[in-house]
Structure formats: structure tokens, C-alpha cells
Symmetry: C2
Subunit: 273 residues, 2 copies
């Protein structure tokens, strides 16, 4: 009887961690940008970690990917094309395809994320085989500086604002983003755990507010992310108006969530106002 147990732990601080019992570690690589690890866990299926933080698990990825795509989808004019910055796992693109986007540019800086996802999350990465998706391996910051195409939605599906993703939370980047948005287009970014990473939410909200006149943060519950509470922040040049349209349910998302996720607890309001 083998009594040794294998656990992968994400440290939320020096003094707090969430641990997943794993069947095996399937991969560990150091790329030019970050460290990528892949675990086969008992409770959440395959788990992708970047620099020690959980990015994606088979079992609960639906919350993050539904919420970063479906919430902004239902506002303003029906969107047809999108730019995804980051999102190398293909999960955001996959949801946009389901929402009948016709043209998606996905700029991921680290080719290895795409390769790992194709190998270990083939269903999620299947979006890269769709001819409506154009994958660009390159720096999203440079891409928005050096191109001119306009998009109805821009999705910043990045890691946290340390390391390669730091520039994706800057005012300068948001100004370049603005140049790529159609008139009533919407940009949305993941903005971290309001409980453990006040800084990410504050950076995103304040940075976007310098550039856009309409900014809104919303929340979702993600069990494998720090504290279980996650924030997203979206911005537009024009006012946000929910379209009068039947809403498709996800596993997490529904019409109630489209309304309710914008009601913020007092401690979250204190971070952004």
C-alpha cells in the first residue's frame, strides 16, 4: 500500500494555500515568458498552472470563459468580430464561436500555451482549428500598437499583472485598445481576486476609467481561483445597453447572472470608487 500522497498547492500568500491531490504531473516547462505545469488532479481533471497559479481546470473552466465572453456579448449592438489578447488555451475563442462571431483574432504571446492546450485540452483548443479564428503568436501590446483593424469586442484574457501581463493593465495599453474598438464596442479584462489582489482590480478599473467614459466591474465565483471570487472589468466609449434578446444559458451564466454580477459587495466598491 502506497501511503505517499501527491499534492499540488497554489500559495495565495505565505500563509494560505489551496491544494489539489494529483494523480500525476504531466508536464513542467520553462518558456521564454513563464513556467508552465500540467497536473492530472482527482477532483478537477487536468489543471494548467502558469508560474504556480491555476489558470484552467477541466472541471470549472466554464465559469471564467463564459463570464469573460457572454456578459459583454449581450450589451450594445450584436458583435461580429473580436480580438482576444492572451487566451492561448483557446477557451475564450471557443465561447465566441458558440456565440456566432464571424471573425476572431487571437494574439497569444507564448506558443507553448497553445501547444500544451492542444495536447491536454483538445476540446477547448479545438477553436484554433476553426477557420473563423486567426491565431497570432506575438505580443498583444505590440499588436495593438502596430495594426489598425477595429473590433466589436476586445477580450484581455491575461495572467495576473506581474511578469509578461504587467503591461496589459496599463493606461497606455488601454489607449491603444480604444483605437481598435468600433463605436459601441466593448473591451473586457480579467481583473483578479478582489479579496487577495485588490491591486489588479484597482489598476484595471482606474486605468480603464482614464480612457473610457463607461466602465463597469462584475464578479463571478470560480472555485479554483484565489478566494473563490473573481472580477472582470469592461469598458466602452458608448453607454452600456443590454440588448432585448433571448439569453442562452451556460453552466454558470444565465439572464440572472447578466444582471446580478454587477451588484458589488461593499468591500469591492471601496476598491474601485
Amino acid at each position: 500500500m502506497r501511503l505517499i500522497e501527491n499534492w499540488f498547492s497554489e500559495r495565495y500568500s505565505d500563509n494560505l494555500q489551496l491544494s489539489f491531490r494529483v494523480k500525476d504531473q504531466l508536464l513542467s516547462i520553462k518558456t521564454d515568458y513563464q513556467r508552465i505545469d500540467l497536473f492530472d488532479t482527482y477532483d478537477f481533471g487536468k489543471l494548467l498552472s502558469i508560474d504556480g497559479t491555476v489558470q484552467l481546470t477541466e472541471k470549472d473552466e466554464y465559469v471564467y470563459h463564459e463570464m469573460i465572453t457572454m456578459i459583454p456579448y449581450y450589451f450594445n449592438k450584436k458583435p461580429k468580430n473580436a480580438l482576444i489578447i492572451g487566451g492561448g488555451d483557446g477557451g475564450a475563442a471557443k465561447r465566441l464561436l458558440k456565440l456566432n462571431f464571424e471573425n476572431i483574432v487571437n494574439a497569444e504571446i507564448d506558443q507553448n500555451v497553445v501547444e500544451v492546450s492542444k495536447k491536454y485540452f483538445p476540446e477547448i483548443a479545438s477553436s484554433f482549428n476553426d477557420k473563423r479564428v486567426k491565431l497570432i503568436i506575438g505580443d498583444g501590446i505590440k499588436y495593438v500598437k502596430n495594426s489598425s483593424e477595429k473590433f466589436d469586442r476586445i477580450i484581455i484574457d491575461s495572467t495576473d499583472p506581474v511578469g509578461p501581463a504587467e503591461g496589459l493593465f496599463s493606461e497606455e495599453f488601454y489607449r491603444d485598445i480604444k483605437n481598435h474598438l468600433t463605436d459601441d464596442g466593448i473591451v473586457v479584462t480579467q481583473s483578479g481576486s478582489p479579496y487577495y489582489q485588490e491591486g489588479a482590480l484597482s489598476l484595471a478599473y482606474k486605468g480603464l476609467s482614464e480612457v473610457f467614459s463607461n466602465v463597469k466591474s462584475y464578479l463571478a465565483f470560480i472555485p479554483t481561483y484565489p478566494s473563490g471570487l473573481w472580477s472582470f472589468t469592461m469598458a466602452s466609449k458608448s453607454e452600456f445597453t443590454v440588448r432585448d434578446e433571448n439569453v442562452i444559458n451556460g453552466i454558470y451564466f444565465n439572464k440572472d447572472v447578466l444582471t446580478g454580477s454587477f451588484y458589488l459587495p461593499e468591500f469591492v466598491k471601496k476598491i474601485i470608487y
Copy 2:
């Protein structure tokens, strides 16, 4: 240099755990009803655990206690008196006192919980020194069978539906509760993590629906509880109507939360409907 680290872990399943680094374990007792442990943690201050599950930490107890008292407070006629079943730490009673309740009966089955709270959470347990609070050490199930007093609010602040609290999730108990409610009175119960304890929410919602014509579940984010998402379920003989009244902010609770916490993600709706 001492390299050994001390951690307390709550197992959410055989394969998942949240761990708190602790300065010390201050107490461990086995009572007639349960095991009580008390830790001094680095990130969350003092932490009370019952049968290995986190009940209360100094740093985030406000969410649970605000949400189990303040949400039902703002519905229907302004309440004046309340029965708390469980709640031996004094936290629910403390919030009710802040809301100017005039008369509170608190029935806690385990005297040790009260003693531990008085010693380690004196600020929270201070409610037991207030003459508006009548503490009864005894079984809440028997109390509602053998008494006749009516209350505007009944708060079931229990542990999870295993062990001593199992009967607090039964239809029979809810029928006895109904006899103790004023005409537009409201009962509220904690109903577990919708993500890891579907059973608790389902039991509470379905049991209350057998007895009451008006039942509503609502959610809050609690970082030290399993998955970070927690549910509460409230019921009444009369329809729920929010009073037209200024809402007092808590650290978590506010007017937005009073509305937004009732908007449920699709996977939660699937549990209760």
C-alpha cells in the same frame, strides 16, 4: 532557524484542501456534541473549527454574520424580536443588536461553543452580556417543540447537516419553526456551499418549500468556507417585500447586495428547481 511550519487544513474532499499557516493551536476539546479546535492563524486571525470545518475567523466572520441577519432584516415589517438556533459564538446576536432588535432568544446546544467564544472572540461574544439577549443552552429542536413564543425572525445558524445539526434541515423542524413565526415573519438558514454541498442547499430549499409558500435562496462570498461561495435560504408565510428604508452598509452588505445576492448562477438554480 526553525524550518518546521504549522498548518491547519480543512479537507473539502479527499482530494482538495485549504490550509492556513498557524502560529499556534490554542485549544482542542471533545464535547458531548462535537470537536472544537481553535487556531491562531497568520492571515485570518483566530479561527474556530468544529469537527474539522472552519466556522469563524476573526478576519472574515463579517460576511456570514451580516448576510444571515441583514438580508432578512430588510424584508417585510420591521422586526423587533428574534430566535437564533445555534449561533453559540454570539456573532448573529451581535448583528441583531446593531439592528435594534429588542428581544433575542439564542438557543445553543453546546455550552462549550459559548465559553470558547467568550474567551477567544470576546468582542463577538459580547452580545451575551446584553440584557436584550437571553441565552438558552439546549437543543433548538426541543425548544421549538415545547415553547409557544412567536418571533419576527428565526435564524438557523447551524453547522452542516451531519451530526448534531442534521435535524435542523428536516421538514418536521421547519413545521415547528412555522408555529413560532409572526404572520409576516421570516426564517433563514445557512444552506451550505452550492458547489461542494449540493445536498445541504437542496435539503433546506425543498424542506422549507414543503412548509412555506415563499422561499428564496441567496448567495455570499466567504473566502474561508469551502469553494468561497455560500448559500442561505429564507422562507415566510407571506410574500417577501423589501421595506422602503435606508439601508445601512456593512463591510460586505449594502443595498446592491440586498438585490444582487438573489440572482443565482445556472448551476445553483439547477440544484433547487
